[in-house]
Amino acid sequence: MSATAAATGESSLKSWLLLAPLLVFLAAFFVVPLAQVVVMSVTEPEFGFGHYAEIVTDGFHLRVLMETFVTALVVSLCCLLLGFPLAYAMAAAPASLAAAMMVVVTMSFWTSFLVRTYAWMVLLGNRGPIAQFAEWLGFAAPELLFTRFSSTIAMTHILLPYMVLSLYGVLKRIEPALPRSAASLGATPAAVIRHVVLPLAAPGIANGLTLVFVLCLGFYVTPILLGSPREQMVAGVIGQQVEEFLAFGEASAMAVVLLASTLIVLGLYHRRFGLDRLWG
């Protein structure tokens, strides 16, 4: 009895030792700076909750938060609409084709998202192929760049792999006999999707939506480079406050609000599905 206790004690000591470097690293470069941000949000320039009160009361901050949430929601839904057919086709495809599709999907993971963002700037730019095509057709070149449309489309593109992989995981696990058996029982192809595939894919859908939503909330570079300067997202506003106005307190408060919103979303997901499943 005591021998086993000693043994478990020893092995748990060992695992703590193995974890130690990571824990020290996280403490030094993540927990401490984060704590500093929290402290700054109530001490800079003087002690008080003024920044938070400002966020809640002045229209600007609330509007930015709202914009951010709406954008994240739109991007998540776009990813779902685009990603579902792709993941479904991948799950149904023969192994070799599925592997090829997987390479295409993960290829965007390997490409720096800065590069992908610049690629969109080229595509959507005033002299870009889309504008030129519109002119060739005889229309005025549409204003695509620096709008909410351009930042949404680029973020959807960048985050799509997360959605596709989440959905592929659940769709691949659906037994192939189930859609067949549903068809034999009289279900049209649409009814098979609605009554069999979607309910069984629900955890993956929730998973993908949460991942994309949370990642999108904190997006910085893409909306800054592609988005409309009038419709900023939270991360961009925080950056601006730090770089242009040196308003560290205000920026910190916004950062804390952003962090809290992210944690709330993850908390809701955890209550319903369990966080351990989020990364598949």
Binding site: A182, A183, S184
Partner: protein, 355 residues
């Protein structure tokens, strides 16, 4: 014969455009018949089932149900109930909701669908399990739910694709009887696919033996067992001794087996003298020879396997491998490496013409 209900006409299937997984299959079934497709894996039995269900498209040929061609009808409009080997129950639905699914797809009012599904669950003996999810049920129970689900919408045909393959022996035998009872009470025309010949013998009105994408033989279980048309069927259905035979004088019913000697032939249509054939002797046809018996052979016993009610003797006679099944009592004194005299009734043998 009564009017055919299911007709397969010249049905062929090729996956690569050259070799044929199924080659010109012709078959008819009467309404209410229980037909078993028997064969090793890759013999074409499952391919035929998939063509009837509509999950695969026929390369050639026609399928008719009650005189109506369904070859180009999509699966969801065929109205054919299918039970899969791995049950294929919807894991997110309870037993009752699973059974209600086909009725829901047919837009039946909910109250009526519930009532019908409950009645069907009662028929398979699972009314108390209506609210359970598949994961909370045993394999046998899940299989019954699958059966109820495939029957609840009064299907034109019931297809069973090795439905008992994953179950243990006792459960299998119980479910065989159960499936047969339910099938009789509903009178639904049924096709049962299996590679287990004892299952086929126990359940079928007719057995269709498949091999190499072709039907080798279709007949009642006893026809297939007693009078197989070729060596493949003889070997695949039941235990068999296949002895090469020289027809020395078929007109007077005489032949000769190398190493055993002259034997009397089964009473089958006359053949040409000098022809070669194979004599099928089921192991249970052989018995200990009485003094003065004809059709005898001497068997050197190598192994005795006791089953209690019977014993299987494995050995050889004049260089030909031989298996004999004797009643348990008769086999008691026989030890391994003994030499015994066996005889058989000529009429109990069966001549298979040389291929």
């Amino acid at each position: 014969m009564t009017k055919p209900y299911l007709e397969l006409k010249n049905l062929s299937k090729s996956y690569d455009g050259r070799s044929r997984a199924l080659d010109a299959v012709n078959l008819t079934a009467a309404k209410g018949e229980f037909i078993t497709f028997l064969g090793p894996s890759g013999s074409g039995k499952t391919t035929t089932l998939m063509l009837i269900a509509g999950f695969e498209a026929a390369t050639e040929g026609e399928i008719l149900v009650d005189g109506v061609p369904i070859t180009r009808v999509p699966p969801h409009k065929r109205g054919i109930g299918i039970v899969f080997q791995n049950y294929a129950l919807f894991p997110h639905r309870t037993a009752l909701q699973n059974v209600m699914f086909p009725l829901q797809m047919r837009k039946m009012p909910k109250a009526r669908a519930t009532e019908k599904a409950r009645a069907m669950l009662a028929l398979v003996g699972l009314e108390r399990f209506a609210e359970r999810h598949p994961r909370e049920m045993s394999g046998g129970q899940q299989q019954r739910v699958a059966l109820a689900r495939a029957l609840v919408f009064d299907p034109a045909l019931l297809l069973l694709d090795e439905p008992l393959g994953a179950l243990d022996k006792n459960l299998r035998e119980n479910l065989q009887i159960e499936i047969k009872r339910i099938q009789r009470s509903l009178g639904v025309t049924t096709i049962f696919v299996t590679h287990d010949q004892s299952e086929a013998m126990a359940m079928s009105d007719r057995i269709v033996v498949f091999e190499g994408g072709r039907i080798q033989q279709a007949g009642t279980p006893l026809q297939v067992y007693d009078r197989p048309v070729n060596e493949f069927v003889a070997r695949f259905v039941g235990d068999s001794n296949l002895l090469p035979l020289h027809l020395t004088d078929p007109a007077s019913g005489l032949g000769e087996i190398a190493g055993i000697g002259p034997v009397r032939l089964p009473p089958q249509p006359a053949r040409q003298p000098g022809e070669r054939a194979t004599l099928l002797l089921r192991p249970e046809v052989l018995g200990l020879a009485q003094p003065g018996a004809s059709n005898t052979c001497r068997m050197r016993v190598e192994t005795v396997v006791h089953f209690g009610d019977s014993a299987l003797l494995i050995g050889d006679a004049g260089g030909t491998a031989l298996r004999a099944r004797l009643p348990g009592q008769a086999a008691q004194g026989i030890s391994e490496r003994a030499e015994i005299a066996l005889s058989w009734n000529p009429a109990a043998g069966h001549l298979i013409p040389a291929a």
